[in-house]
Amino acid sequence: MKNEMELTFLSVSRNEAFARATVGAFVTQLDPTMDELTEIKTVVSEAVTNAIIHGYNNESDRHVKIKCMIQHENELEIMIMDEGVGIENIYEVKEPLYTSKPHLERSGMGFTIMESFMDSLEIISEKGHGTTVIMKKQLTKTKTVCH
C-alpha cells in the first residue's frame, strides 16, 4: 500500500508537538506498536527541533517541511527539511553529546536518538542552503492480537 503526505509549517517551537502528532497520525495506518509510535514521534521531534534551533537559529518566520512516504509494505520514510544555515561537519554533529549550542542546554543527543530509533539515517546538508534528514524504518508486520 503506497501512500505519502507533505506538511509545511512555520519554524516556531510550538509546532514541534504538532509535527510529531501529525506524523504519528499518518503512521497509524501501518498499525504500529506503541513503542514504534513513540520512537517515530521522538525522531520527528528531534529533527524538527534541530531545524528550528540550529537550521534557522530560532528565526520564527521560516518554513520546515516534512514528507512521509510508505514505500512498500510497512516501510516508512520520513524526510525533514529546512532551508537554513546547513551543517559544516556532519560527522561532528552525529557524535553523541556534541552540541554547538551548550548555553541553550542542548544535550547533544538528537542524532544519536534518531540513529538508534530508526533503521537508517541520512543527512544531506550544504552550508547556507539547508539540511535534509532522511530516516527509514521497517515496522513490524505481525501484531499480537489481544482479546
Binding site: 517551537s13 510550538r14 514541534e16 508537538a17 510529531r20 513503542d35 513513540t38 514521534k41 521522538t42 521531534s45 528531534e46 527541533t49 528550528i52 534551533i53 553523541p96 553529546l97 541553550l104 542546554e105 542542548r106 544535550s107 547533544g108 543527543m109 538528537g110 544519536t112 536518538i113 538508534s116
Partner: protein, 117 residues
C-alpha cells in the same frame, strides 16, 4: 498536549511534578520556572516526578542535565522517580542513568533523602 509543572517543598527537598509532553518548546519554560524555584526556596535536594510525562525527547535531557549540575554544585542530589520505559531508554542512551539516581515512586525518593513522612 502541553506540559504542566508543579513545585512543592518538603523539608529541604523540592518536589517537581511534571505532566504532559516535555520537548524543546516546553523545556525553555520549564528551565525558567525550575531555576526560579531553586533560587527562591531554601532546598538542597530535588525530586523529579515523571509519572504523568507522556513524551520526552533530548530537549528534556538537556534541561535535566542543566538542573543536575546546579543541584550538585550546591551539594544536593537529584532523584528522578516514576519514569516510564521509553523515557528510561533515552536516559540510558545519554548516560543519565550513570549519574542520576532513580526511585520507583515519590515516597521511596522522599524516604531515600531522609524526609519524614
Amino acid at each position: 498536549m502541553s506540559l504542566t509543572s508543579s513545585f512543592t517543598v518538603k523539608e529541604n527537598v523540592l518536589v517537581v511534578r511534571l505532566s504532559g509532553e516535555l520537548d524543546h518548546h516546553e523545556a525553555v519554560k520549564l528551565r525558567e520556572a525550575w531555576q526560579k524555584k531553586l533560587n527562591q526556596e531554601d532546598v538542597k535536594h530535588v525530586i523529579l516526578n515523571l509519572k504523568d510525562v507522556t513524551f520526552m525527547d533530548s530537549s528534556g535531557i538537556g534541561v535535566l542535565l542543566g538542573r543536575y549540575k546546579e543541584i550538585v554544585q550546591l551539594g544536593g542530589e537529584l532523584v528522578v522517580c516514576s519514569i516510564n520505559p521509553s523515557i528510561k531508554r533515552i536516559f540510558e542512551m545519554s548516560g543519565l542513568l550513570k549519574i542520576i539516581r532513580l526511585a520507583e515512586n515519590e515516597q521511596y525518593a522522599l524516604d531515600s533523602l531522609g524526609v519524614a513522612s
